[in-house]
């Protein structure tokens, strides 16, 4: 009778699923996932039946159809004969371009403002407070529109640069034009010898890397500090500059003959142009062709360059009538004139500079717009600056938080060792602050990339503008277009956070 009897074995009752805490959570999870699956199924079926009612199918074939529309900013070759898929790619590259530019600028701005906000100088610290609070408390869209409006309404039109006494003039020794269609800047052109120049530059970079390793090893071993900064600058500039000047001196005196279809032998370029206005030029992409087009624009002609890949293609293009002017080395010119068929070719009396290994083509007023050089469109500038300034304000706060998270004792210890304030910041504080800064910084980069879809407000042709805008309304493929766009942003965001997480793992506190 004294033995403690076992409690009677309970049989499982259904009510235990709710009232017994051992089973309750499982029950809730099962029910919730059934409901979730049912909801997903219901939505999916809804889409299918609605598409059927509308008589629409679901296919991505439109990506291979001709797009029929033009895009102003293209990083790869694209025309209205290209496919919708190609247009989407142009948009994707534009999105990535503004995101990368934005992330870089925002990081610099943010670190700068975040450090300065902690400055002991009252004015500097307050200025940075005004910047941070101003930008992060006003919607991004307003900043984009404001900068765009300033650029469009506050700058001169290209035709204001024309005439004897123009209302506007170019800045920086006539190389940069600020207009209400964007900022036109010189663009680099690679000439003969550019390969050698690039090789020397890469070798210099390798030299710098080797020297820094050597200097650090030496400092570890002997404590002696070598002048890394000035040596690096010297290595970066001097060999490349020497090769550039040497090569230029060798080839810049060379003159290339001008070959004109239907011209008179020995006539000058101006005489030829009276017969053939706005001629098109066939050339392999080199500096001589660029120099020719610069000369033509100086004579108030528009000059389009038909780019070909070899001298024999120049002959084919001339014979086909795609272009009327060609410029090439004297030996190649003789061969060309000898072998060409069906067109009268003449050598003009004017010649063109062969050019230098690297030169800059400056924008010139021709026709309605500036031509030559590179155009930074207002839409890009507005979006880029607004995104950088806005996200920079958030990054500034993250950087400030990171710095404040490093204990004051670290600074004091560094000072006690005799480190100067900027070295303390660079060598002691920032490396430790990075651990706090990196994780929230990832979200800011993601935000910036996704916010770039506000491009639509200023007509910047990002992926939302091409694939998610024009392509959808021209083809009526809303579901497919939006799905693809969602997929692109998802993949991009995952890639950004993946890369930054790898970096984060390398700088975070290593625990053993």
């Amino acid at each position: 009778m004294t033995a403690i009897s076992e409690p009677p074995a309970e049989s499982f009752r259904l009510s235990q699923l709710i009232y017994d805490s051992r089973y309750r959570s499982t029950t809730i999870q099962v029910v919730a996932s059934i409901l979730l699956l049912a909801a997903i199924y219901w939505l999916g079926r809804n889409i299918v039946s609605n598409l059927q009612d509308l008589g629409k199918d679901f296919n991505f074939g439109f990506l291979w159809q001709r797009s029929g529309y033009d895009i102003n900013q293209r990083l790869i070759e694209y025309s209205n004969d290209s496919s919708h898929g190609r247009a989407a790619l142009v948009g994707i590259l534009n999105t990535l371009l503004v995101s990368v530019l934005g992330c870089i600028t925002a990081t610099f701005l943010g670190v700068f403002a975040g450090v300065l906000r902690l400055s002991k100088n009252w004015i500097v610290a307050r200025l940075m407070t005004v910047y941070v609070e101003g930008f992060r408390n006003i919607p991004l869209l307003l900043w984009i529109l404001l900068i765009f409006a300033l650029m469009t309404e506050g700058t001169p039109q290209p035709r204001d640069f024309r005439g004897e006494n123009p209302e506007a003039s170019m800045i920086l020794w006539d190389s940069v034009a600020v207009t209400n269609r964007g900022i036109f800047v010189p663009s680099p052109v690679w000439g003969d010898g550019a390969g050698l120049l690039a090789l020397v530059f890469v070798l210099s970079l390798a030299g710098i890397w080797w020297f820094r390793r050597y200097a650090f090893a030496r400092q570890e071993a002997t404590g002696e500090i070598l002048p890394i900064f000035w040596t690096s600058i010297g290595l970066l500039v001097i060999p490349t500059l020497v090769v550039y000047l040497g090569y230029s001196a060798m080839i810049s005196k060379d003159q290339y003959p001008l070959i004109a279809a239907g011209g008179t032998e020995g006539a000058s370029l101006v005489e030829y142009l009276e017969e053939n206005r706005n001629p098109s030029i066939c050339s392999v992409p080199d500096t001589a062709a660029v120099n020719l087009s610069t000369t033509l624009r100086g004579l108030e002609q528009r000059a389009s360059i038909v780019t070909v890949s070899s001298v024999s293609e120049v002959q084919a293009s001339l014979e086909a009538g795609d272009c009327v002017l060609a410029v090439m080395a004297p030996s190649a010119a003789e061969t060309l004139i000898g072998s060409v068929d069906g067109v009268e070719l003449a050598t003009l009396s004017d010649t063109v500079d062969r050019g230098r290994p690297l030169q800059f083509e400056r924008p010139q007023l021709a026709g309605f717009n500036f031509e030559g050089g590179a155009q930074l469109r207002n839409s890009l500038i507005a979006l880029w600056f607004a995104l950088s300034l806005y996200t920079g304000a958030f990054i500034a706060e993250i950087v400030r938080a990171g710095i404040l998270a490093v204990s004051r004792g670290q600074t004091e210890a560094a000072f006690a060792l005799g480190l100067r304030p900027n070295r303390t910041m660079n060598l002691v504080i920032l490396p430790q602050a990075m651990r706090v800064i990196i994780p929230p910084l990832i979200s800011q980069y993601l935000n910036l990339t996704k916010n770039s879809s506000l491009a639509i407000a200023v007509g910047y042709m990002d992926v939302r503008g091409t694939l998610g805008g024009i392509t959808i309304s021209q083809t009526g493929r809303e579901l497919e277009g939006i799905l693809l766009m969602g997929l692109f942003y998802l993949v991009t965001s995952l890639a950004i956070s993946g890369v930054l997480n790898i970096y984060n793992n390398s700088v975070k506190l290593q625990e053993r």
Partner: protein, 338 residues
């Protein structure tokens, strides 16, 4: 908690997506008003006036449909749509009819599953430039910067026109006519291109309309018309015959001033059939017998609507041109009411 909010959101999203295919005519009757998609603002075609009332040529068509279906031309809810959102709004059932100077094309009719109910304005694409640019022909526009509304047929025509004439251009994409106007006036583009009627309407709102010229070239055919969803033919018939009634009323001399008198009965059996005093055309459409009377009394015939909104006496000052009755050498030709 979080999960229930999530499920709730899903359910609402699902419901909102679920009602597309019901009969539009019954829906409009049950709702008591017509939901009509119009542009975000184009003077003379669809634009709110100083009192916030929508006015214009396309707006009048919406009002005419409301008058025919509900007997009340004011029972319209106007939904302003951009060029990019218009077809999605119509296909999803957000609007019952779209009257937004939209060009009738094969692919829109067939591939986008839309149904154009007719043409209320025969138009073509033109170019507008500032007069002091000194351009007299569109063929001189090589290298120009062009403002263009995205997602339109004009965008495609523009690309075709420049490439077929071996010219280059720089497109500046804009969303709405208002945005285009602002960019054009700021000189951010040299040229604005859209339907010639749209150019005239836009120029009429400028401070100095005489400082801008519309170039002589008309580079495309742009038959603009109202449209409805594919697959609801009854509703398509109502919209189509409302438009035809307005055109036929002009041809037959029925105006808002004399419609009441004519409704008492005339010698012309076609007028009698149109106004419902003879036969039962309204009943065949599923409408009241006096549907066309309501349209003409409350909105007017085609001529009254044209002259009142975009005609020669208005600031927009368009002449009838192609849009005259066939009897006057134009293209307007309503099928017989029989």
């Amino acid at each position: 908690m979080k999960k229930s909010i999530f499920l709730g959101t899903l359910a609402v999203a699902g419901l909102a997506a679920g009602f597309v295919s019901a009969q539009t005519l019954d829906e409009v009757r049950a709702r008591g008003n017509l939901s009509c998609g119009v542009s975000t603002g184009l003077a003379g075609f669809s634009m709110p006036d100083a009192n916030g009332e929508w006015q214009g040529f396309d707006v009048a068509f919406c009002r005419a449909v409301a008058a025919a279906v509900l007997g009340d031309s004011t029972a319209v809810e106007f939904v302003p749509l951009t060029t990019q959102t218009r077809f999605t709004a119509l296909a999803s059932g957000e609007v019952d009819v779209l009257a937004r100077n939209t060009t009738w094309t094969f692919s829109r009719d067939v591939d986008l599953r839309l149904e154009f109910v007719g043409v209320n304005y025969y138009d073509g694409q033109g170019f507008m430039v500032p007069r002091d640019l000194g351009v007299t022909s569109a063929l001189e526009l090589d290298g120009a910067t062009v403002c263009i509304q995205t997602g339109t047929t004009t965008e495609l025509n523009l690309a075709d026109f420049f490439s077929s004439n071996n010219m280059g251009y720089e497109p500046v994409p804009v969303e709405t006519n208002a945005e285009a106007q602002q960019q054009y006036l700021a000189g951010a583009c040299d040229v604005y291109t859209t339907d010639a009627s749209g150019l005239a309407a836009t120029r009429a709102t400028f401070e100095d309309p005489a400082g801008h010229v519309v170039l002589p070239e008309i580079v495309s055919k742009e038959p603009l018309g109202p449209l409805v969803r594919h697959g609801d033919s009854e509703w398509g018939d109502v919209a189509r015959w409302t438009l035809n009634a307005m055109v036929a009323a002009e041809e037959l001399g029925v105006t808002s001033a004399n419609v009441a008198e004519m409704a008492a009965g005339t010698d012309n059996p076609e007028i009698n059939r149109l106004l419902g005093t003879e036969g039962d055309l309204g009943g065949m459409l599923g409408l009241e017998a006096d549907w066309a009377q309501n349209v003409i009394a409350q909105v007017g015939n085609y001529d009254e609507v044209f002259e009142g909104n975009i005609g020669a006496s208005t600031p927009i000052g368009l002449s009838r041109g192609l849009n005259a009755q066939w009897t006057d050498g134009g293209l307007l030709y309503a099928p017989p009411f029989r």
